[in-house]
């Protein structure tokens, strides 16, 4: 038996580029590089020729030009005289708003549904699995359109609120009007002294945190268990309300009023936003429910039993033993669900909510004809949003994972 030497004898031969594992990977990468450059040449050449044939060039000047279209839901100042760049910014904010709302709501729905799927109650369990299966297996676009159609068709028009004996009436002491043009709500008016009330409110939140720390210290150092829920609850509301009353209602409300055929004043949430928000929340909630269920099931039964043996009550077993461990399993898929919500919010274009896709990828693209620039910019925006969400959530996830030695 002769052993083959590790290093081939003799000098470098060309065939070693192919057959020697030390050099082969360089060969492959060089070929890959050439292939990439060839693709660049093919795509770039076609692009340049096609653009020249169409008399176009690549330029982002359109972002500074006047947009000339209106956006019905605008979180910042915007008129049709504003620039396309500002329209894109409004769209970006609208995307973030609906994504945030939907993430929060979907988490709540998902956690509730996921816990209820494990309920001892057969009927509740069945209802929840029905909910999960129905929503998971039907495209989110169809849900958005269904909910939007319901909002448009099943809610009264603003003029139904008109007259001495209106067909429809406003909710919550004539403050909220649900119409097919959106939900009209009172908006706060900041009068003199509002800052005081806000300051008191912020101070009371700080107070809640300090109280909780105190209670924890008492529990850990002296073994005294202090109830924290009701004091926190009281601290949250009472000082701010007191300040509001003492200072003579500095924070007022502007109520929506029916003028002509539509409501004026107050704060409006468009039906398209509500449809998108609800649809994304309910649809993604079904996925989150599955993640939550899987996370809870992943905690071994011994944990529950050990906690019970220590004499913890079922509620405390859930909140102190099972959920903290389940969270580690739940959070990574939850992050990807949040990313999905953000990306799915681009379906806003189907119901006319002016998010990033509706402004930059929709009207701006059509008006300026700058397809390549607009689509590239659109993708860049989404890429940045996605990457930053996953970056932040990964930091959070790393802080949650088990610290092992």
């Amino acid at each position: 038996m002769s052993s083959t030497p590790d290093t081939p004898q003799g000098g470098f031969r060309l065939s070693m580029l192919l057959n020697d594992t030390r050099y082969r990977s360089y060969t492959f990468q060089f070929i890959a590089l050439v292939a990439i450059i060839a693709a660049m040449a093919f795509i770039g050449g076609n692009l340049v020729r096609n653009l020249a044939a169409a008399g176009l060039n690549i330029s982002y000047d359109f972002l500074g030009q006047q947009s000339g279209y209106d956006i019905n839901q605008r979180p910042i100042e915007y008129t049709s005289q504003s620039t396309h760049g500002r329209a894109a910014l409004v769209g970006l904010l609208n995307t973030l708003i609906v994504a945030f709302l939907a993430c929060v709501t979907a988490t709540i729905i998902g956690v509730v549904a996921g816990v209820l799927r494990l309920s001892p109650n057969w009927l509740v369990r069945k209802i929840m699995s029905f909910y999960v299966e129905i929503f998971r297996n039907v495209p989110v676009l169809i849900w958005i359109l269904i909910i939007f159609s319901i909002l448009i068709n099943a809610t009264p028009a603003p003029r139904a609120f008109k007259g001495a004996d209106p067909q429809a009436s406003m909710w919550l002491w004539d403050s909220v009007a649900v119409t097919n043009r959106g939900v009209f709500m009172p908006s706060p008016v900041w009068n003199e002294g509002s800052m005081m009330v806000i300051g008191v409110f912020l101070a009371s939140i700080v107070g809640i945190f300090m109280f909780r720390r105190y209670a924890k210290a008492q529990l850990f150092n002296h073994g005294r268990l202090i109830s924290t829920f009701w004091p926190s609850f009281g601290l949250f509301f009472v000082p701010a309300i007191l300040a509001q009353i003492v200072l003579g209602n500095p924070i007022g409300l502007e109520y929506p009023e029916l003028k002509g055929f539509n409501f004026k004043g107050g704060f409006t949430i468009r039906g398209s936003l509500i449809a998108l928000w609800l649809a994304l929340a309910v649809y993604t909630g079904a996925f989150i429910a599955e993640n939550v269920r899987a996370g809870i099931l992943a905690i071994s039964k011994g944990q529950t039993e050990a906690a019970a043996a220590l004499g913890l009550r079922p509620k405390r077993i859930m909140s102190l033993v099972v959920l903290p461990q389940a969270l580690r399993v739940i959070i990574p898929p939850l992050i990807s669900q949040y990313l999905n919500i953000t990306k799915n919010s681009s379906l806003a274009i189907a119901v006319g909510y002016m998010d990033l896709t509706g402004t930059l990828g929709g009207i701006t693209l059509l008006q300026t004809g700058r397809a390549i620039e607009a689509v590239l910019l659109l993708m860049l925006f989404y890429l940045v949003i996605s990457l930053s969400i996953s970056f932040l959530m990964n930091i959070y996830n790393n802080s949650m994972t088990l610290k092992e030695r």
């Binding site: 060309l14 192919l18 990977s25 492959f28 990468q29 890959a32 050439v34 990439i36 450059i37 060839a38 660049m40 040449a41 093919f42 795509i43 770039g44 050449g45 076609n46 692009l47 340049v48 020729r49 096609n50 653009l51 020249a52 060039n57 690549i58 330029s59 309920s119 001892p120 109650n121 057969w122 009927l123 509740v124 209802i127 299966e133 297996n137 039907v138 495209p139 989110v140 676009l141 169809i142 849900w143 359109l145 269904i146 159609s149 068709n153 990306k343 799915n344 681009s346 379906l347 896709t357 990828g361 693209l365 390549i372 689509v375 659109l378 993708m379 989404y382 890429l383 996605s386 990457l387």
Partner: protein, 519 residues
């Protein structure tokens, strides 16, 4: 024994007491209800609330559904019928009857040819069986699965039968060429390798030379623009051009030599020759041969253009084609991402993360408005093909991530064992790594496939008429069925639910089947 006891001890019974039935509360439905519905006061309250909700739901939906009108020509007609019957506000399913064909096939597919996609769908279910239930059906039936794409293509797009048949024939010829070269004696193969190597070396060198010219042209064109971006881009292209100018001759010589050098074991020369002959046969053989046969024995179906596809059929086409294409692509991407070659790994990472970071809609925008700029002006790639390209890229990135998870879950010992058996990378991957990694990845792949199938509805946003596009366009905007929504959307939801739910049930079943007790 009992006899003796019975005789010796008077108070011991000598017969068994007949078992009395369990108490009423501990048996049958009562027990079940007590345990599952009323086990505590919280549970009882929840049961009552849930029951009320269900009752309310059924009371609302059932009359709506039951009194639905199935036979009417327009929504007005429908409302009149319901008003006469005193069931105003019920469902108007007549729209489904009236627009059934539109919902399923779109509004442009020739009405006389509806049997073709229907047959293709039935065959899809039949031909998928051997692959789906591979462990119960004979392996030979997989031939049907392999033939299905050709049959389905012919059925749906029509045209001459001889086109798919000739493609099949040419594939067989290619396979024969492959076997022929592999079977050649070493000296003959050396000659073949010499010729093929020289030709492909020269060809590649020439192509690279053209590419270098192209890059130089782009560089000049781009840097003529204003701003720092165009300067940088022009510089990048210039570097690439110089690089290619410097390397096109050595590259050609090297590749030619590499092909020639492989004559002993045959790998590279066989593959290159086979690919060459496949290309030549497809480009120069397919058209003339199929036309010739067709002129002698014409078997033709009416040809249907891609842009005439619509309705649920379009979703099915996009779903099946893109899923089947994206699984191999996803495997390649996942392996590339695991690779220890930085350039290849980098390309795969950038591709996967880029695709996963943007919504599918933006990729569809790319397909709709941008992709045409990337192809030569004279080529006209139709929208459906561009959409297939983008959706395939999209789902391949997601599948790659799923498979990467499967690869990462494999114990390192598997890789090491494969190495210690002396398997090379290809063998180890094909025989040891992928079978196990794919098995672990099945649930994830199915999730991606179901998600992808649902996402095919997004093509309605770029004005293609899939089922949602049909509803939002030709149906809801027609005078007959203006703004009807419940019935049509519920129908669309139902057809998607049936398919997606079955797929996920199948995957759960498959997971149980493949369970080998350990991972």
């Amino acid at each position: 024994m009992s006899d003796t006891n019975a005789q010796s001890v008077a108070f011991v019974r000598n017969s068994e007491i007949p078992a009395s039935p369990p108490p009423l509360g501990e048996t049958g439905p009562v027990k079940w209800m007590r345990e599952n519905l009323f086990s505590g006061w919280v549970n009882s309250v929840m049961t009552v609330i849930a029951f009320l909700l269900i009752a309310r739901f059924i009371m609302g939906v059932f009359p709506w559904f039951w009194n639905g009108v199935w036979d009417a020509s327009s929504i007005k007609d429908c409302r009149n019928i319901m008003a006469d019957a005193g069931t105003a506000g019920s469902a108007c399913f007549a729209v489904l009857v009236d627009r059934w064909d539109h919902l399923l096939f779109g509004f442009k597919y020739p009405a006389t040819e509806y049997w073709r996609p229907t047959l293709a769908f039935v065959l899809l279910v039949v031909c998928a069986m051997p692959a789906l239930f591979a462990m119960y059906l004979p392996r030979k039936l997989l031939i049907a699965t392999a033939l299905y794409p050709f049959v389905a293509y012919w059925l749906i797009w029509g045209g001459s039968l001889w086109v798919p048949v000739v493609i099949l024939g040419l594939l067989a010829v290619t396979a024969a060429i492959y076997l022929f070269i592999e079977g050649l004696s070493v000296s003959l193969r050396q000659a073949v390798a010499g010729i093929v190597g020289a030709l492909s070396g020269i060809g590649l060198g020439y192509l690279l030379y053209l590419g270098a010219q192209e890059l130089w042209f782009i560089s000049g064109n781009v840097s003529a623009g204003e701003g720092i971006v165009s300067t940088v881009a022009g510089f990048v292209f210039m570097i690439a051009a110089i690089f290619t100018y410097a390397f096109f001759i050595p590259m050609g010589i090297f590749v030619g030599y590499a092909i020639y050098n492989s004559y002993e074991d045959g790998g590279l020369v066989t593959i290159v020759t086979t690919l060459f002959s496949l290309y030549a046969l497809m480009v120069y053989g397919l058209g003339p041969i199929s036309a010739a046969i067709n002129s002698v024995v014409p078997i033709e179906l009416e040809a249907v253009a891609s842009r005439d596809m619509g309705g649920y059929m379009l979703c099915m086409i996009l779903g099946t084609v893109c899923v089947s294409l994206s699984i191999p692509l996803g495997v390649v991407l996942a392996l590339g991402r695991q690779s220890n070659m930085p350039l290849i790994k980098g390309v795969c990472v950038v591709f996967i993360e880029f695709i996963r970071g943007v919504p599918l809609i933006t990729l569809l925008f790319v397909a709709n408005v941008m992709l045409a700029y990337f192809f030569p002006p004279e080529s006209s790639i139709d929208l459906i093909l561009r959409v297939i390209i983008m959706i395939t890229a999209f789902s391949a990135a997601y599948i790659a991530e799923v498979i990467r998870g499967g690869l990462a879950a494999l114990p390192k010992g598997q890789y090491e064992a494969a190495d210690s058996l002396g398997l090379n990378y290809t063998q180890a991957t094909r025989l040891i790594i992928l079978p196990q990694a794919l098995k672990i990845s099945i649930p994830g792949i199915v999730n991606v496939a179901v998600g992808l199938f649902k996402d095919t509805t997004l093509v309605s946003v770029i004005s293609m008429f899939d089922i949602v596009g049909m509803i939002r366009g030709p149906i809801q905007q027609s005078t007959d069925w203006i703004s009807i929504y419940w019935e049509v959307y519920l129908f669309a939801a139902a057809v998607f639910f049936v398919v997606c739910y079955s797929i996920s049930q199948y995957s759960q079943w498959l997971e149980r089947q493949l369970q080998t007790g350990h991972r």
